[in-house]
Amino acid sequence: MVDLRRAAAIVGVHEHITRYAPDKSEQQIQGESIIKALEDAGLEKKDVDGLFCASMSVRSSGLNLADYLNMYPKMVDNTTVGGGSFEFHLSHALNAIYAGRINCAVITYATQARSGGVSVGTGGISRQGHPRLDPSPDSFEELYGLTTVGLYAMIAQRHMHLYGTTSEQLAEIAVTMRRHASLNPEALFRDLITVDDVMRSPVVSTPLHRNDCCVITDGGGAVVVASPELARNCKQKPVWILGAGEAVAHQGAGKRDLMYIAAKQSHVPAFEMAGVTQKDIDMAMIYDSFTITVLETLEDLGFCEKGEGGQFVLNGRIGLGGELPINTDGGGLSSNHPGMRGLFLLLEATRQLRGQFEGTERQVPDCKIALCHGTGGALGSRHSGGTVILARD
């Protein structure tokens, strides 16, 4: 494979801080985010020649967004593989920029999951947007009352059965994310919680409690990705892409071991390309739709052995000040989870690598290399995993 390290950089980011935006369209939130992210980079509309996006509600999201913003990009990619779509977009933008087909891509997302009353985790088949089941696989799956939380809960249940993982260990993840959220003025929930609080919250789907589940918010954001030539002339210091890997995992015709998730495949090319190992990662943004998502992802990314995730997350290891701080914005569990959260992983990793929180408790000291892993779909069924490794100059 050609050496893609530092072939493209994140040069601008913007998080639309709203957590509730009933009066704005998705396209408006995306447009406002793109404008701010370009301002952050010191670039303009005319510089953008690649448009990358995904949507929960718009089928041809790239086409519709180009129309709304009156853009004529050379490349449009609305790859939609669930919440981790944006790690896939970054991976694709890297290829396109290296190949010289584009110089500057924007990756964007927005939704009104909260103001629209979308039951992302517990809506059952209504999350598919239509009452009729597809002949397959829906007619062999949704028939039985699948929910997103239920699919993750089944994985948590078996993880407990095989490895002795406990609800208290999962709760520790939620508690740590809330501690990080308390440092983020934009986070939806900022009051500290305890393991007991998590254990006492209602059981949504055994063994997962409500506080094991992410919040539901509106929101959006944008990332600007540029070629090295363009990046050197931007306002902000570039955050380089060192490596990227993509994978899907699914039932495997009824025979795949569902306890291994897509991260097990996607991290391999990402680390190989980057030429770094797990020990080199200063902080990680790990998709946290549910506490079990974090635990399984840490295992399958190789930060610990399979089955040891429950021990790994204890004693402050994944908190700020710990060995591997994760989700320093408070994560999907406490800050925001607007239906798909993958974009926000890139935003916070970039802020950390820029040293944007220098002098505050939120900053990971001397943050040089960060990893983002987005998961989309459901762990107990078909899902995607996108790993990207980012580094400061």
Binding site: R132, P135, S136, F140, E142, G145, V149, M154, V204, S205
Partner: protein
Amino acid sequence: MTTWNKPLPTIIGETKTFWDMCRRGVLLIQKCDSCNEYQWYPRGICANCWSNDIKWVPSSGRGTVWTFTVTNQNRTQGFDTGPYVLALVELEEGVRMFTNIVECDPKDVSIGMAVEVTFQRATDQISVPFFKPVY
């Protein structure tokens, strides 16, 4: 017979044989004549070797609970009235399928529990396979 208020499968040529046999109380799975692999869910191509030598074969209808969850919250009609057990059952033939564990208290379900297929009539045309404990 109570009125079926849960979702119903959509049946097309690719899956009609399966649903026809459910109505007669037989759980079919598929086996490939080229590579001898079983597969679930039913499809018109072998997921292993991509041949089209797919044959319907009856499953023993027996298996074990591979994993499960007692679901307390689902907005879908038919699943919105109280806890139900969503499970993955591993059939004796080695494939795992989504199902509900029925005819028992959700609190009694555990991983590894022996179960067997049972059919519930949804409409005159459609019976849906579920699993119940083997005592």
